[in-house]
Each structure stands twice: as C-alpha cells, then as structure tokens.
C-alpha cells in the first residue's frame, strides 16, 4: 500500500462518520470535506490524503498522528514497534482541576495509543534506524516518565544495534502532572542522546507543530541535523507566557520554523512530502561517514 493509499484508507475510516462536517460538504454527494485551519477553504479529504495532509490551496500542514508519521517516514512494512507497554502511571497522585488518571484514560481512548510517543525499529531508504514519533493528541504529547523512558530506550537500542535515530517531535513540553519526574526526563533523554553522539551514530530530528518547552529544550534539538516542517511552532516558552512577561504582542511568524531557520536554529525547513527523501539522503551522508555505497 502506498503512503497516499494508506492515508486515504485511514482518513476514510476516520471521517466517514465525522460530525461537524462543513455545511457545504453535506450538500455534496461524494467524499468528505474538511476546512483548512489556515486558509479556511474547504478541501476534499481525498485530495488532502493524497497530499500528505497538506492543504493543496495554502500549504498548511495538518497534524499527523504518530502512526501517520511512521507511515510517512519508514520504508513500507519495515516498522516494528517496541516498548508499546511502557506507559504512564500516576506516581504523585496528581489532582488539579481533574485527576491525572482521568486525563490519561481519556487520552488513551481518544488517541488509541498507550502513550504519547511510538517507537520502533525500521528502515528508511534502506538504512536501519530506530524511529520515534510523538502524538500531540495524547495530553499534548507532553513528556512524563513514560515518554522520557521510551525516548531514552530509543537512543539505547540504536546504540546497542548501531542504528541511526530519527525522531519526529511534537510536544507541549514537560508533563506537569508528574512534577519533577517529568523535568528530570529532560536530563535523562539528553544524556542518552549524548551517548549515541559519542559513538558517532547519526541522530536526525524532525520538528513538527508544535514542539515546545521541555522537549525542545532537551532531546529534540540535540540532533546532528534538525529539520522542521513549514509553519511549525517551535520554541522554549509559549507565546502567551512571553506576551504576559514582556507585555507586548509578538511579531508575526515568531517561533515558526522559518523564524528558526533565519536565526540559525534549524538546518532546513522541509515540506512534508519531501521529508522521506530528505531523511534518506541525510542518512546516506551520515550513516557510513560519507562512504558511497
């Protein structure tokens, strides 16, 4: 199955019974229609699926799930997930507004995922990698103990098996419901990334919308080459926090991928459709230390 077929099939399942479809779509006999968040145009969902869920009118990149990310990047059929059973508990008995256990349960139900990151072995352009993808639907893909553990194991498996690491990031930051255990995952994942780097195994990250806070300020930006999807919001402090602190509005485009490129923080802004080829070429360069196969 090609990537676009897969998206089509998946989206068909997801949207056939979608409620709140745009009124115009309801009048039309065939297909499902969605409104682009950015240009507000109504887009035929099949067309969106063929276009890697990028708006054909304005180029807006719709969110992808972790499994869609894997499907986008991994060679077809090459992905084998590991550590799917590593999940969050509620170590602090955290209750503020609502219990953490309730948030976890609804995140699992909504996303169909046990945690906010999916990790596994795969090949990309034939290169053996460990591939991880974060899923924003799961408590904003925040990093608690389980995400930190899975990301750490991603680096450790790669180190043990001499694989490259490719991580597709998305996150609101550290998971506050696990308190300091979450903050420390920043140090833990950074330490694991460093060990991989010391063995000269390549690590590529793809920053997607949004990647913020403790995930940006740890493993996400420790990659050898950092790619970002167009228009993604990436940074440390959230825009609202900054606005409240400095008491002024932020310039247009602040903390976008393009802004980061301009400020020297990422290597390249790569439209989604070109990501698999770009990652493959980068691995071609880095995996064998420049040796042409």
């Amino acid at each position: 199955m090609s990537i676009s077929d897969w998206f089509k099939a998946r989206e068909a399942r997801r949207y056939t019974s979608a409620k709140g479809a745009p009124a115009r779509g309801a009048d039309l006999p065939d297909g499902v229609w969605v409104t682009c968040d950015s240009c507000k145009r109504i887009v035929y969902d099949g067309q969106l699926a063929e276009n890697f869920r990028v708006c054909p009118s304005c180029g807006h990149h719709f969110d992808l799930t972790a499994h869609q990310r894997v499907e986008l990047l991994a060679d077809p059929g090459s992905f084998t997930e590991f550590d799917a059973g590593v999940t969050s508990t509620d170590p602090l008995g955290f209750v503020a507004a609502k219990p953490y256990v309730t948030s976890l349960a609804s995140a699992r139900e909504r996303s169909g995922l046990p945690e906010a990151v999916v990790c596994g072995r795969a090949t990309i352009g034939g290169h053996p990698v460990v591939l991880g993808a974060m899923d924003f639907r799961f408590i904003g893909a925040s990093m608690g103990s389980a995400v930190g553990e899975k990301v750490t194991r991603t680096f450790e498996v790669a180190l043990a098996e001499r694989r490259a690491v490719v991580l597709s990031t998305a996150s609101g930051g550290a998971r506050m419901q696990e308190g300091m255990l979450s903050l420390m995952q920043m140090a833990k994942t950074s330490a694991a990334a460093r060990r991989l780097a010391e063995e000269r195994l390549p690590y590529l990250s793809v920053l997607t919308n949004p990647t913020m806070g403790g995930v940006t300020a740890s493993f996400a930006v420790l990659a050898d080459v950092i790619l970002a999807e167009p228009g993604a919001l990436v940074g440390f402090a959230g825009p609202r926090v900054i606005e409240q602190t400095i008491k002024q509005h932020l310039p247009k485009g602040f903390q976008t991928s393009e802004f980061l490129l301009e400020h020297g923080m990422v290597d390249e802004v790569v439209p989604r459709g070109q990501l698999p080829a770009r990652v493959t070429l980068l691995l071609d360069y880095l995996v064998r230390g420049g040796e042409v196969a």
Partner: protein
C-alpha cells in the same frame, strides 16, 4: 531603614517578636514583675515560632525560597569560597549576569562554581534579570563546564532561579538549544558535579546547571517542573490556586529525596536561611566538601557510568503488557 519582608504566614509571629524587642529595649531593672512577664512572652514566642515554622506547606516554602533576604549564590561564594576568580562571558554574545561563574576554593578543594545569580536590590535585579537566564548565560555556563573538565576541576553549582527568561530575544538566540546543550554537556562531564538547591528551582532554567553526582537541597528550597502559579493558571485557569497546586507538584526538598532525585535535605534555621545565614553557610560548606571528597576518589569513567545510571533510574512507569 530597609523595610523588612514579612511573609503572610509568619505575620502574627513577627508582630509578637517586634513587641518583645520593644519591651526588651526598656530598662526593666526597677520593674521585676514586668521583666518576668517579658520572659514569659519570650517563651510563648518560642513556642509559636516552633509551630509557625515546624511544618511549612509547600507553598509557604516557596515564599521562603523567594524571600528577598534569603542568601543568594554570591553570598555562598563569598562565605564558603576563598581565592575566588569570577569568569565572564560566553565568548560569542555577551556576559549574562544572571549566571555567576568562578574558579574558587572550598575547604581546600579547587573547583569551578556556577550559580544562578539574583540581585539583592532593584538595580541589581534589573542587571541580573531577577536570576532569569538568557541563552548566553547558559553558554557561559557551558564554557566554564568545559574549562572545569579540561583542567580536572570538580564543578559546584548553586540553583536559584524562577526559570529561564521567556522573552523575544531569548527565543531568537535559542533558549531551548542552550538549555538542551547544557543538559547534554553536564550529563557527560568527566569531573564530579555537586549541585546545591539554595532557593528557587524553576524548571529547565534550573535544570540546565542543576543536576550531577549529588543534589543537596536546602530545606526550604524548591525544584519544580513549572512554577505553581503557571501550573495553576494552566490547569485551573486561576493563578490564585498556586498554593493548592504547590502541594500536588512534589517540589519540596523532602519530596525530591523521596523521588530519588535529591540526596539529602539540609535543615534550615527556624524561619528560613535568612534568619541565620552563617549557620547555613557552614552546613553547606561541610556538605559540599564531604561530597567533593567522596567523589574525588571515583575514576572519571566510573563517575560517568554512575551519573548516567542515576539519571536513568529516575521516573515511574507502568507496564501494560506483563
């Protein structure tokens, strides 16, 4: 005269203490009855002081940790270090005064010192951005970490920041990148690292220089993934619920020991470190010196393995599939 900073929860105590001080300033030689009343008031105050400070709530500890008179990094350096040479600048952009970097000697140990530096008055606080670090501050810290490693000097860090600065320029210059690189560097540093939580441990900005082979926490210091105010405004849409949230975040020194993140809690004088700073300096000097001695005998490969294992063990996870 400098206005004293009184925390809400200690106000009744402080008012009585003031009254007592006033009474004691009187000449009571001619009035033995009043003198004995004064002594009984003093005894009552001792009991009240004990009660007020015996079991502070996490939110009350946050107030203590932010007390303007609380000893700052520069006070610790002045009190426990000799032969201090302050180092400046990141060699790329500037010198962020919110980070203090120095070569210093503690109890005969030659070390590199890093700490978040708050000011003691408004003008100092403006210059030091209230201890909120910009990327160049973390890069200055990294420069000194590398220096320490190169010349085999152990690193001692003092943690006291509300957090890394959230501003336009900080983002433009790569705040997240600077923190991440600092975490990476610190995690693999081939010299002993002793971190001391002396006040506020605000999130990533604290962590960037705030972990190592030992983490010693002062009793009223906190260390948190997010400030209680910010957490309350996100989860409750009400920053006023900070006190409630502070109790959920496991952010006190004792909590950190329980979670396997900190090694020990250093007791503070009743009311907080600012009440008797010399006592606290002495205790910190002794504990840091002990840690340096213990770590000094560990080889650098072993040190690295232990530090990784220490980080590796942090976290609580479940397992869905047996």
């Amino acid at each position: 005269m400098k206005r004293r900073h009184v925390m809400d929860f200690e106000r009744p105590l402080v008012e009585l203490e003031d009254k007592l001080a006033e009474l004691r300033s009187l000449d009571l030689a001619q009035n033995p009855e009043l003198a004995s009343e004064v002594e009984s008031l003093a005894a009552q105050i001792d009991v009240l002081r004990e009660e007020t400070y015996a079991s502070l709530s996490p939110w009350e500890r946050v107030q203590v940790s932010r007390h303007p008179d609380r000893p700052k990094t520069q006070d610790y350096v002045a009190a426990i270090c000799t032969d201090v040479i302050e180092l400046h600048g990141d060699r790329t952009f500037g010198d962020d005064e919110a980070i203090l970097a120095a070569l210093a000697t503690i109890d005969g140990h030659r070390v590199a010192v890093l700490g978040h530096r708050k000011g003691k008055n408004t003008s100092e606080n403006i210059a030091r951005n209230f201890g909120m670090v910009h990327p160049e501050g973390f890069r200055k810290a990294m420069r000194v970490m590398r220096l320490a490693e190169k010349f085999g000097l152990p690193l001692v860090t003092f943690i006291d920041t509300p957090g890394a600065y959230p501003g336009i320029e900080a983002e433009e210059r790569g705040q997240a990148w600077a923190i991440a690189e600092s975490l990476s560097l610190l995690s693999g540093l081939r010299v002993p690292v002793v971190a001391v939580g002396i006040g506020e441990g605000g999130s990533g900005g604290a962590l960037a220089i705030g972990f190592g082979d030992r983490l010693i926490m002062l009793e009223n210091a906190y260390y948190s993934v997010i400030s209680p105010e910010a957490c309350a405004s996100i989860l409750h849409k009400d920053a006023g619920k900070a006190a409630e949230v502070a109790s959920c975040l496991s952010m006190t020194a004792t909590d950190l020991v329980g979670l396997g993140i900190a090694d020990e809690v250093l007791p503070e004088p009743a009311g907080g470190a600012h009440r008797a700073p010399e006592e606290v300096f002495g205790a910190v000097r002794a504990r840091v010196a002990t840690a340096l001695r213990e770590l000094g005998s560990v080889g650098s490969d072993e040190l690295q393995e232990r530090r990784y294992a220490r980080l590796r063990a942090i976290g609580v996870i479940g397992s869905d599939e047996g």
